[in-house]
């Protein structure tokens, strides 16, 4: 029985040896490849539009809040660390530790989304929209006095909201998935050192989402 | 009913047609070979009682031959084509003495700007476009544009002289296309694209929009007249007078 259990994380059997990776994990890696292409399309378009634009681009920090977002980035990275700790815990059989760290990851992710939503509301109030700067708003004044370049604000808004919006959507999906696993798999004790695929697979997704954010934070907020 | 390429009306038409025909010969030989081969196999190797298929998994020698020959052919074709491509569309392809004509495309008509006696086109800007009074957005502050002639749906060019079209679009992507000249260039809003040609045969031709641009795409047609130099000057004088522009 234990031999069969040990085989549960391996490819189906008897069969050809595929890759030494069980189906769910292989499936997640493959899915992430498609996500790379999706974000590449959005980020690639941003790069082309920004560096192809004839006017100057808004300087960092004027429209977007670097401090709050830096904290948010730190939070997301921490949640990746807690995810690794959850994974390590269940590999060694520590159920309570795994549940704790998984919960921390969920909270970290949820806070990230919450802060992003707060930021969006704040930006829209100040007049920053996917279509650019709203007339009569605070940011419109900055455009008028030359602090912000009129010619490229439309592109700035379009690219900012699309890239970060889809990233936020992906984080939200991740939080919901982890919550589902937490409530219906982790808490009832369905994971074990022989069967923790869900944790590993959602962990892969979570690290990917974190990596995309690090790229976005750098090229959208800092550059 | 025309069964071949249109009549040649520009200096690069013969070059393009020659390339077309050369490709037709190469692909034609391949086509005949493959189709006749298939027909032969269909008859020679059809199932008959007592016959057995010849059991083989292939031939490395055959693979090498039918990989190498197409590969070499394609490389040669690429090298041969590139020279002509660079000549027509390359960055420095526009001849120095080319006569400039502004071509402004909008839904669903073509506006041509002739440079007038000073030989220079005035600056245009999308912001200045006014439907009836300034269809091409000519900038009144640019002196080079004061003698420019703006004409709707009529392109007039002198024969035997390189002409460079400065292509601009007001709304969506259109495409500048004169079959006999073999010239085609998409016209993109936000860009000014140069497309040159040299007409060789006087006569009347048609310019068609060749990129779907909306409901009126099918009737976005202009008439192209290729004049001898004298006729061209005469037309220019006539039109300038009609429009009250300076003739010299």
């Amino acid at each position: 029985m234990s031999q069969a259990m040990a085989g549960a994380m391996q490819p189906p059997f008897p069969a050809e040896r595929g890759i030494e990776v069980y189906n769910k994990k292989l499936g997640m890696w493959i899915f992430l490849a498609s996500e790379v292409m999706f974000f590449a399309a959005l980020i690639g378009s941003y790069v082309i539009l920004r560096f192809g634009a004839t006017g100057a681009w808004a300087k960092p920090g004027i429209v977007l809040s670097i401090q709050i977002t830096a904290f948010n980035t730190f939070l997301l990275i921490c949640s990746s660390v807690s995810m690794v700790k959850a994974y390590a815990a269940i590999q060694d059989g520590y159920q309570d530790k795994m549940k704790f760290w998984l919960l921390m990851t969920i909270l970290g992710g949820a806070c990230f989304v919450g802060i992003q939503v707060y930021e969006y509301i704040h930006l829209v109030e100040h007049g920053f929209l996917p279509s650019g700067v709203r007339e009569g708003s605070h940011l419109a004044e900055l455009v008028e006095n030359g602090t912000l370049p009129a010619a490229t604000m439309g592109l700035y808004g379009s690219t900012f909201f699309t890239m970060t919006g889809f990233h936020g959507f992906h984080v939200t999906c991740g939080v919901i998935s982890m919550l589902y696993l937490y409530l219906f798999k982790a808490l009832p004790g369905k994971y074990s050192p022989q069967d923790f695929g869900g944790i590993e697979v959602v962990g892969l997704y979570w690290h990917f989402v974190d990596l995309v954010w690090i790229i976005l934070f750098t090229i959208v907020y800092l550059v | 009913m025309h069964w071949w390429l249109p009549p040649q009306g520009s200096t690069f038409a013969p070059d393009i047609d020659y390339m077309f025909t050369a490709i037709l010969v190469i692909t034609g030989i391949t086509f005949v070979g493959v189709e006749l081969g298939l027909l032969w196999f269909i008859f020679a190797y059809r199932e008959r009682p007592g016959r057995k298929a010849f059991y083989t998994h292939g031939s490395t020698k055959a693979e090498i031959i039918w990989t190498a020959i197409p590969a070499v052919t394609m490389v040669i074709m690429g090298i041969a084509s590139n020279g002509l491509w660079v000549k027509i569309k390359g960055r420095n392809s526009v001849p120095a003495n080319a006569y400039p004509i502004g071509v402004h495309a909008k839904q669903f008509e073509w506006w041509f700007t002739y440079p007038g006696p000073d030989g220079k086109l005035g600056r245009t800007s999308p912001a200045l476009v006014a439907k009836t009074t300034n269809p091409t957005g000519l900038d009144p502050d640019d002196p080079a544009g004061h003698d420019d002639l703006v004409v709707r749906n009529q392109m007039h060019v002198p024969v035997g002289r390189p002409v460079v079209a400065y292509l601009t679009a007001e709304d969506v992507i259109h495409s500048f296309y004169v079959p006999e000249f073999r010239v085609r260039q998409d016209v993109v809003p936000g860009m000014e694209i140069k497309s040159w040609f040299e007409a060789t045969v006087p006569g009347t031709y048609e310019l068609g929009c060749s990129q779907l641009c909306g409901l009126g795409h099918y009737k976005m047609r202009a008439v192209v007249t290729v004049h001898t130099q004298e006729d061209y000057d005469a037309w220019m004088q006539r039109t300038a007078k009609e429009k009250g522009e300076p003739t010299s």
């Binding site: 490819p11 059997f13 | 292939g58 490389v75 491509w85 079959p179």
Partner: protein, 588 residues
């Protein structure tokens, strides 16, 4: 020897106590899902064809009322005379339905799903529920796209290529809600495609039966596997582009608006970066299927199996670096034109290799011209024409002249219809017994083939000629141009052939539906083929096999010396065969 997993799956095959809804509607069985895709895609094939008939009416008889045209609303065809707005909707939706909902679903949705587990010796796909989600999202996508024709102002009308700014602005195209629905439908379709791809790739990598090594896999599986990788990586780019287009309309973004620094050509780069791998998605599975049909019909192994695999991979790989050949005259930097020309010419090479290898397979074979073989050979003959016409376009100076003319329309229909659709018809007939347990009628199959072949060539070959003469695409009324007026008789000839072509498909559809209930009952292996799917009953049962087969040889051992018949299934163990070497038991 069996593990818990295998035993559980075998038990699943024995006790099938699923309800009707679980079995046939919300099924997770890859075969049922494949059949669901088949019904969905055949429906859209008919719809796409119907749209084409109206296009051809307008081109042959511009301004004349169309028969049954009075059934259309005033907004589309008052008095039965098609309006330009409706004509452009027809053109756009014909392309959209045919590319995505007909051909892509027929090749991938149907045959990746139906064939992969059967041909590699698996009980089902790696992720059966994700598979079901893939079907239902495609279904939803199709409904949205179909409904877009019926909203106020009608569907999108910017061509299936959706060039901006025309497609992005209501005031330029005249379409608003219909255009937004196009984007939404494509996003849903993208989701379906990606979910499918991840299933096919995982299953082929990890779920092959013992002895089914990579180089014993049938070419149809190789082709579907590589196609799935193409789709996985290309479709997300389309999804991204469609999202950007949707946002341009509903959120007022400015990605493509030059007044704000946006770039119209960016859309073309994104679209064609997807679009070119897409056309290989539309042909590679067909090529894979044709290999099965021709090997079977020739009673001979595939000539150059390894070359065929490398050619598929070569086409897929090169397909990523040729997208600019759709953009030679777009205003893109001309230097890029040179680089894309080279890569495009090179992609002719692996395609040529395949054609020669199919001919090599037929050479000295014992050719049996059953309906699938007829279609397979027709594929080779017609795809050759389509591929060769592509060479004209690859040469940039020539493309300058034939871009956006009917020469291109001829090319694309030769590869998609003469190529993909002929392969699909052959595949449908070939695998019909495994799907439905009956044979399609052979005589009517042959009649359908010949009528289709004749009228198809009558429709599309002359398009090369009018294209060479300069006839542009997407024209509501060609007679506006003096130089096009003399071509009207040819347009009329093409249209008449097209009407007869569409009419001939009735034979196929009647044969398809009638045979499902009244066709001759099929044996387990009616075509005397070697693939694993023929080692299980017709139709294949839930779970495919109780015990998974073991594989001892490649899939094309026809007319092997020493075999008692002219075929030798992959799983038949001869005294000279050894058992496959399996991985040692786990820890693994």
């Amino acid at each position: 020897m069996t593990t818990v997993a295998a035993t559980a799956q075998a038990a699943h095959a024995h006790h099938d106590d699923r309800s009707f809804i679980q079995k046939y509607i919300f099924s997770t069985d890859h075969k049922i899902i494949g059949i669901q895709f088949l019904f969905l895609s055949l429906f859209f094939l008919m719809v796409g064809g119907l749209l084409a008939m109206q296009i051809r009416w307008q081109l042959a008889y511009p301004g004349k009322p169309m028969p049954l045209g009075n059934l259309l609303p005033e907004t589309m065809a008052p008095g039965g005379v098609l309006l330009p707005e409706y004509y452009l909707q027809l053109v756009t939706m014909h392309g959209t339905f045919m590319v995505f909902f007909a051909i892509m679903l027929l090749l991938v949705g149907v045959y990746a799903n139906f064939l992969i587990p059967l041909k590699i010796g698996a009980h089902d796909m790696a992720f059966p529920r994700i598979n079901m989600a893939s079907f239902w999202s495609a279904f939803a996508s199709g409904i949205v796209m179909l409904m877009s024709l019926f909203v106020p102002e009608g569907s999108s009308r910017a061509g299936w290529t959706m060039y901006v700014p025309l497609s992005a602005r209501h005031d330029y195209s005249g379409a608003e809600f219909g255009q937004e629905m196009w984007s939404i439908s494509i996003i849903l379709f993208g989701l379906s495609s990606i979910l499918g791809s991840l299933n096919y790739i995982t299953t082929v990598i990890n779920n092959r039966a013992a002895g089914m090594t990579w180089f014993r896999m049938p070419l149809s599986v190789w082709a579907l596997f590589i196609t799935a990788i193409l789709g996985l990586l290309a479709v997300p780019v389309l999804a991204g582009a469609a999202i950007m287009l949707l946002f341009e309309q509903i959120l007022g973004t400015h990605f493509f608006d030059p007044a704000y620094g946006g770039q119209p050509i960016l859309w073309q780069h994104l679209f064609w970066f997807f679009g070119h791998p897409e056309v290989y998605i539309l042909i590679l599975p067909a090529m894979g299927m044709v290999s099965e049909l021709i090997a079977n019909g020739s009673r001979k192994p595939i000539f150059g199996y390894h070359s065929m695999v490398f050619a598929i991979a070569g086409i897929a790989f090169l397909g990523w670096i040729v997208w600019g050949h759709h953009m030679f005259v777009s205003g893109m930097n001309p230097t890029l034109g040179s680089t894309f020309m080279v890569s495009t010419l090179l992609i002719a090479v692996p395609s040529a290799i395949k054609v020669f290898n199919w001919m090599g397979t037929m050479w000295r074979g014992n050719l049996r011209f059953h309906v699938p073989m007829l279609h397979g050979v027709a594929f080779v003959a017609m795809f050759t024409i389509g591929g060769l016409s592509g060479i004209f376009m690859a040469a940039t100076p020539v493309d300058m002249f034939i871009h956006d003319t009917y020469f291109i329309v001829a090319h694309l229909h030769y590869v998609l219809f003469g190529g993909s659709l002929f392969a699909i018809f052959g595949g449908i007939v070939f695998w019909y017994p495994k799907m439905f347990g009956r044979m399609m009628n052979e005589t009517w199959g042959k009649i359908h083939f010949w009528l289709t072949f004749i009228f198809y060539n009558g429709t599309f070959f002359p398009m090369h000629i009018i294209g060479m003469a300069g006839h542009m695409r997407r024209l509501y009324d060609p007679t506006i141009y003096d130089f096009l007026k003399p071509m009207q008789p040819m347009n009329e000839f093409i249209s008449i052939c097209a009407f007869l072509l569409y009419g001939s498909q009735i034979i196929f559809f009647v044969n398809f539906w009638w045979s499902m209930f009244k066709g001759k009952k099929a044996s387990q292996n009616p075509w005397n083929d070697n693939g694993l799917e023929w080692t299980t009953p017709s139709p294949a049962p839930h779970g495919n096999w109780d015990t998974l087969p073991t594989v001892y040889r490649g899939p094309y051992e026809f007319s092997a010396p020493g075999a008692s018949e002219d075929y030798l299934p992959q799983n038949r163990k001869l005294p000279t065969d050894r058992d496959p070497v399996l991985s040692p038991a786990a820890g693994h």
